[in-house]
Amino acid sequence: MAFSLDTNCGLLNHNIIGPIYCTSTIFPPDILITQFWFNYRHVANTLSVYRSVKRLGIPDSHIVLMLADDMACNYRNPKPATVFSHKNMEFNVYGDDVEVDYRGYEVTVENFLTPRSKRLLSDDRSNILIYLTGQTGNSHGGNGFLKFQDSEEISNMELADAFEQMWQKRRYNELLFIIDTCQGASMYERFYSPNLMALASSQVGEDSLSHQPDLAIGVHLMDKYTFYLLEFLEEVHPASQANMNDLVSVCAHRVSVSPGHHTDLFQRNPGSVLITDFFGSVRKVEITKDTINLTSSVKSGSGDMQIESLTYVDQLPVAEIIHQKPKQKDWHPPDGFILGLWTLILLVFFQTYGIKHLKHIF
């Protein structure tokens, strides 16, 4: 029986840089809602990366955040509207300014790969960061796929194809894919589009570990890989010169499983790629000394004022309601069945009693 899997995936398309996060909580069908709370750390993972990215300058309009479950306002949360990433409730990653685009049942494979609404418009100059976190692959095997809400799954091939489609449509310039799950490296094995770099928290056959439990909240707060990733990102500021090699090496020695990275498809040398290329954004501001004339506002309205006195509608017009005429149904000619039935009755009548009764009719 499959157990609870949590998939967080984020897709961020930004004109310059953008991460996308999406989280989906999966839980087996016959286990009740208690399993939601179990996956607190995946939401904390996603929100911490979201927070770092917003801090480094990317606006909400360029972030798609998908959270499959509500942890902050969950009734089990001892401190509502907060999600903590460090124990002793030091660091609230939920904050006051979060905008979740897809939540709850909206987090599906379809909305992840081809969103119909709330999508971001990226072009061939966009750098995209995709951050997925959750659990994939269990002890029964099954690497190479990520489950969404326990009712559907996305395979590494589908993901690779989606990225290839994006490349064909010129929807990205460079793409960084980070995944924090068990057997995470299996998800990027099949990538074949150019300009893709992928980082994973564990190799195939290895499990990703969670980091710190908190006794008040009662669950683990973060995963190890994302914890160190967050620590690293906290030191990055918008003008930082840290590059990808720093990012790759930050998690290598401190965690017990070995994170993987896949940079073959990337055209530039990872050492020359700045972290802020993906995680932050710098807006270009043009200062001009010209004067701009603003046109006047709408001048209408004074000419066509209603002369008659307007009234409010009666909220409960009892007399009107009681005497409301039922909707007039359109008249239809009688159905074939009714016609046939009546013909039969008439025929039997005249059969039995003879034709002379016809004169009573006509």
């Binding site: 902050a72 006047s296 709408v298």
Partner: protein, 566 residues
């Protein structure tokens, strides 16, 4: 008496824009104004009820075809564009976490059901109301970061008598009304953030600095709503203006949040204090309900919800208000029982049938009044309307108006509206039996064992008022008493929502496809495999192999050239 808070402030003039020489562009008086208000009311059970109302009035016409509105000042642009694009006449949307306990807390100023509720009146020029409704829900779900895109035809109804427009208007053809609720919708910071961004001062100045999510969501009840409707601009009502009201109602339970004692302050409730009024507001006031403590100064009396209550008013636009310590020790006397109150529950056992019971209480000692009960039940609870019974005081009570629209599987929910006369001081019970449907396996949510929600029933009534209501429309009226237009003095309109229901549907075992495939493959493999073997296997006599010693002996014999052993 009323001089304390001052008369209505003169309209705010817009500033002249730099660099333009066109003198007639911006010197006209601005036609929009903004008012904000906070009402604090201690409740009988020891909780504190705080109600924020932010109102923007704008004299413009969104539905003009000739010229699109393009200059937005106080009115948020996202909502203005929504109104003009979808030809919306009235829009009411609310997000609520928690359930309003009428018996312990009395009547709220603005009622709302748990979850999300959206009802919209479209303009009668709209040709495809359903298409507009679908697009409108998608746009609103993006604006408010909520899953409103789950509103579709399977949970939308067109009430025929409830939800009359709260704004100006004549025609009330209910084909242009759409109503939907999502009882399961969660409200959290991500819904509050865009709501705050719609305010002219954002969350930087005025009363909205108090809106911090950590405190607001740590409460017994939290409801935020947006109401847009056309209203009268002045007393003669010759022209109309658009009114946007953003309301936020919250009930704090000061006992469980560790306070213990019955004293409260703004800092204890919101962990913030007020520092200044919003500079764009023409009036910014805090009302504290001191009906039970008549000794306090700065009083104003207002009739609200059929009751004359006394308020202490603090006008924030006056600079001397800040910096003074005000402590009000408030005693609470016994609360009057609310006159109208409703409950709903599911009775029955098993996963096949059940009964929905709606109980409506009329606590008025001698007056009977009619109520309109509206029930919207999803299609997978198949109602048997022939079992509908309405009893008051154990006698049959025939409704004077029933409108029932049966459900269509996967297309339309049930809609039942009834006008029932409630006898004085009585309990009326409405029961209807239903059967639970078995859904297709793809229609189940990822957590089907949680249950399926049925939206709250809505009870609308004109409750007789003990005190004469004020039918005049004035600008000076506080916002919380002027939400519902009052037509007659002897009664006030009230809407009561019941609890939503959580119903279990018969749920299949979703691991069965896996089990069936395993079992079938095993049977096929074993059965077919054996059968194939039987048909195609040929038997040959096989020489038994010799033991090792004899094999060695044979080897030596071969070398020697001697005949081998058998």
């Amino acid at each position: 008496s009323r001089g304390a808070e001052g008369a209505a402030a003169p309209p705010v003039f817009t500033w002249l824009s730099d660099g333009t020489k066109d003198s007639e562009s911006f010197t006209a008086a601005a036609r929009d104004q903004f008012q904000e208000e906070l009402v604090i009311r201690p409740l009988h059970s020891g909780d504190i009820y705080a109600s924020f109302q932010f109102r923007t009035l704008w004299d413009t016409d969104f539905l003009q075809e000739r010229q699109k509105v393009s200059h937005y000042r106080l009115f948020p642009k996202s909502l203005g564009q929504v109104l003009s694009k979808f030809s919306v006449r009235e829009l009411h949307i609310s997000f609520t976490q928690g359930f309003w306990r009428t018996m312990q807390w009395g009547q709220p100023f603005i009622p709302s059901p748990p979850g999300a509720e959206l009802w919209v009146w479209f303009h009668d020029t709209v040709s495809d109301v359903d298409g507009n409704w679908k697009e409108l829900t998608n746009v609103l779900s993006g604006i408010f970061c909520a899953s409103l895109n789950f509103i579709d035809l399977t949970n939308t109804v067109q009430p025929s008598a409830s939800f009359k427009p709260l704004g100006l208007g004549n025609a009330t053809d209910h084909r242009f009304l759409r109503y939907a609720t999502l009882p399961r919708e969660i409200v959290c910071t991500e819904n509050l953030t865009p709501w705050k961004k719609l305010l002219p001062c954002g969350s930087k100045a005025g009363l909205s600095v108090l809106l911090k999510s950590e405190k607001l969501f740590h409460s017994s009840f939290h409801s935020q709503a947006v109401h847009i409707r056309p209203v009268c601009q002045d007393e003669q009502c010759t022209s109309k203006a658009w009114e946007l009201r953003q309301t936020l109602n919250v009930v704090f339970d000061l006992y469980t949040s560790g306070q213990g004692k019955k004293e409260w302050s703004l800092f204890k409730m919101f962990s913030r204090t007020l520092t200044e009024a919003c500079p764009l507001a023409t009036s910014s006031k805090v009302y504290v309900d001191i009906t039970d403590n008549p000794e306090v100064k700065l009083k104003q009396q207002t009739v609200v919800l059929g009751d004359r209550r006394t308020y202490s008013v603090f006008d924030l636009t006056r600079a001397e208000m800040f910096g003074q310590l005000r402590s009000l020790n408030l005693l609470l006397r016994d609360m009057l029982r609310p006159l109208l109150h409703a409950e709903r529950y599911v009775a029955g056992f098993g996963l096949q049938t059940g009964e929905i019971h709606t109980v409506i209480y009329n606590n008025h000692p001698y007056r009977a009044f009619p109520v309109l009960l509206m029930d919207s039940v999803p299609w997978y609870l198949q109602l048997y309307i022939h079992t509908l019974t309405v009893t008051s005081k154990s006698r049959d009570n025939k409704p004077s108006y029933i409108h029932y629209q049966p459900a269509k599987d996967r297309h339309r929910p049930h809609l039942l509206e009834m006008l029932i006369q409630l006898p004085p001081h009585s309990m009326t019970e409405v029961t209807v039996q239903f059967e639970r449907a078995l859904l297709k396996w793809t229609e189940y949510t990822p957590d089907p064992n949680h249950g399926f929600y049925v939206g709250s029933s809505v009870v609308s009534a004109l409750v007789p008022s003990m005190v004469a209501m004020n039918t005049n429309f004035t600008q000076d009226q506080p916002l919380f008493s002027s939400f519902v237009p009052v037509k007659e003095e002897s009664s006030y309109f009230v809407r009561v929502y019941t609890e939503p229901l959580l119903v279990n549907l018969p749920t299949p075992d979703f691991s069965m496809p896996y089990n069936v495939i395993c079992l079938t493959c095993t049977v096929v493999a074993v059965g077919y495999g054996s059968f194939y073997n039987l048909l195609t296997r040929t038997f040959q006599v096989d020489e038994p192999s010799l033991p090792l010693a004899k094999r060695l002996a044979n080897l030596i014999r071969r070398i020697r050239g001697v005949p081998l052993l058998a």
